[in-house]
């Protein structure tokens, strides 16, 4: 049904100046996958950008099509969740990475997460992300640096920048378009409460760049989204009494479960 390999999906909205970095890391990740017997593509989904992104993307697509770069330009702006769902529908490979256009992969570790999902059949795997700013020379903080634990029902420490089994994600309806922020937190809890396995793989999966104008810096929206998530998933705080299949899963292909 799905081809064996990874679609690296890059939703883009007006990140023309940062796209080349994300795409370069994606193409390098495909090289790493192919060296280990896998395959893949980089699929950029442009969500009606106004800044020249589409022109750049078509040029890059012409140059790198045979390396696996494809561009999907959406006819209407639908937001991040809709763009990710479009990627799920269009992806050619079984596993999907969601790489925001302002971030970058550590290409050599993409095969590690891919193997983890192939070995275990889990719905998703994530690795540590090192946070940087455009100005800072090195990483200063981390996110997605621990396994999925009960604290996720209070606040999220796992970003959407991860690898997913597209079939399991699609079975559960993909990303909720009712959320315009914190959609990744909602998705993680959706997976966990529906019995899916989420793995933490102890490698550095990528770099997460903190920009002043990023979507996550809108505090008021964040508060409202958190309240809504709590209402859906944890309103009675009884969650801690329920067994969750995905609690505390740590996996490395060279080690198995830790």
């Amino acid at each position: 049904m799905y081809r064996r390999g990874v679609t690296i999906a890059v939703p883009n909205w007006n990140h023309e100046l940062l796209l080349p970095r994300a795409i370069a890391s994606g193409l390098a990740a495909l090289d790493a996958l192919r060296a280990e017997g896998g395959d893949g593509e980089v699929l950029v989904i442009d969500d009606q950008s106004r800044d020249g992104s589409v022109t750049l993307l078509r040029q890059l697509e012409a140059l790198y099509f045979s390396d696996g770069l494809r561009v999907l330009a959406l006819a209407q702006n639908g937001g991040l969740s809709a763009a990710r769902n479009a990627a799920l529908a269009q992806a050619r490979f079984r596993h999907v990475v969601f790489l925001d256009a302002d971030n970058e992969l550590v290409p050599e570790n993409t095969p590690c997460l891919w193997r983890a999902l192939e070995d275990t059949g889990a719905a998703a795997a994530y690795g540590t992300l090192i946070m940087r700013t455009v100005a800072a020379p090195g990483g200063f903080a981390v996110v997605s640096n621990e396994s999925f634990q009960d604290g996720m029902y209070e606040s999220s420490y796992v970003d959407a920048f991860a690898m997913f089994d597209r079939g399991q994600l699609a079975d559960l309806g993909g990303y909720s378009t009712a959320f315009t922020t914190h959609e990744d937190h909602e998705q993680w809890l959706h997976l966990a409460t529906n019995g899916r396995h989420v793995l933490f793989v102890p490698v550095v999966f990528g770099y997460y760049y903190l920009l002043a104008t990023s979507m996550s810096s809108d505090v008021e929206k964040a508060i409202q989204a958190n309240q809504r998530i709590r209402r859906i998933f944890n309103q009675t705080t009884a969650r801690k009494h329920l067994t969750t299949a995905t609690r505390h899963l740590r996996y490395h292909p060279a080690l198995g479960y830790l």
Binding site: V106, H252, L258
Partner: protein
């Protein structure tokens, strides 16, 4: 409680080794190693938590360490009371430490020892930290070289399959700090991006269901890893002896990253495995893994074995005859000459 039937006893020497239990495996492990070594020195040993300790008289009671033992007991006041009672039935009571003496944790051990009227803190370390202590703190400090137990020394001789599945280039395990994040970023960019990285938030340790790796999990990682790399979460010079030892026993090589150059007159083994960050990539690149591991293993064999170090301490507090210490030294020389 651990109290196997004694195979041989001399003059009814008894020791009580108190461990935290569920709190921190480093100190449970330290306690087990002490118990093994004491039995070799012909002590009858009880190994347990403060809550489970049996009634009876002991020549030596050692707490591994007093802070962790009291924390796991759950009530400091009641714990101190229990220790005061216990002290009446022991000839000598001691606490261990596996911490840098400039940290708050060591100061806590000192404070608790004062409260419990314990005169000696045994520092399991790879270097003597006395010079870092204020004058008034030196009287209670005793450096005990963190050498190997007899079973660990024997295990070093078995190198069959040492590199089976050893595919992970390096591992960095420790709670997250901004400095450690920057160091991991450096390792990914300049050494090898495929390292094992585990830098969870700082949280109390639990054997299961905590962010931390327990002893078995950490050992599993190290057995598949070439270099264990770490940095201290404070700025004083300190050699984390447990990290060196765990790497040794797992067949890997430890590399400690320094935030500043080694103090010029610092007497410390394995200086070739302690590197400033700016030189780290170049140093690792220069290593032949098998050759540096051979050197590390040979050098660790030369660190004073725990049996001898402990025997010397016990002789100093009159719990062991000095002739027994001389006999152990004699055995060592004979073995070295035969080799």
């Amino acid at each position: 409680m651990d109290n196997p039937a004694p195979s041989r006893r001399r003059a009814g020497r008894k020791a009580l080794v108190l461990i935290p239990g569920a709190v921190n495996y480093f100190y449970n492990l330290c306690g087990r190693r002490l118990a093994e070594t004491l039995r070799e020195l012909s002590f009858d040993v009880d190994l347990c938590t403060l809550a489970d300790r049996p009634a009876g008289r002991y020549d030596w009671c050692v707490l591994s360490n007093i802070s962790e033992v009291l924390y796991s007991y759950g009530d400091n006041d009641a714990g101190f009371e229990r220790l005061r009672e216990l002290k009446k039935s022991c000839k000598v009571m001691t606490s261990t430490s596996i911490d840098s003496v400039v940290t708050p944790w060591y100061q806590t051990i000192r404070g608790y020892c004062r409260t419990a009227e314990i005169d000696t803190i045994l520092d399991f370390s790879l270097h003597d930290q006395r010079e870092l202590l204020a004058e008034d703190a030196r009287a209670t400090y005793h450096y005990l070289p963190a050498g190997l137990t007899t079973s660990e020394l024997r295990g070093l001789d078995d190198e069959a399959g040492l590199d089976d599945g050893r595919t992970i280039p390096w591992a960095f395990v420790g709670h997250h700090t901004p400095d450690r994040t920057a160091l991991v970023d450096y390792l990914v960019r300049h050494v090898d991006p495929r390292g094992f990285v585990y830098i969870p938030r700082l949280a109390p340790y639990q054997e299961t269901d905590s962010p931390h790796l327990n002893e078995r999990q950490f050992d599993a990682v190290l057995r598949r890893t070439r270099y264990q790399i770490w940095s201290s979460h404070h700025y004083a010079f300190y050699m984390e002896s447990e990290r060196f030892r765990m790497s040794l026993l797992a067949g890997g090589v430890p590399v400690k990253v320094l935030c500043k150059p080694l103090p010029p007159k610092q007497a410390a083994p394995f200086s070739y495995l302690m590197v400033e960050e700016a030189e780290l990539a170049e140093r690792l690149d220069s290593f032949d893994f098998r050759a540096v591991r051979r050197r590390f293993r040979d050098d660790f064999r030369r660190v004073k074995a725990l049996r001898l170090g402990l025997a010397e301490f016990l002789a100093a507090v009159s719990l062991l005859d000095r002739r027994e210490v001389r006999a152990i030294i004699g055995e060592r020389w004979a073995k070295a000459r035969a080799a």
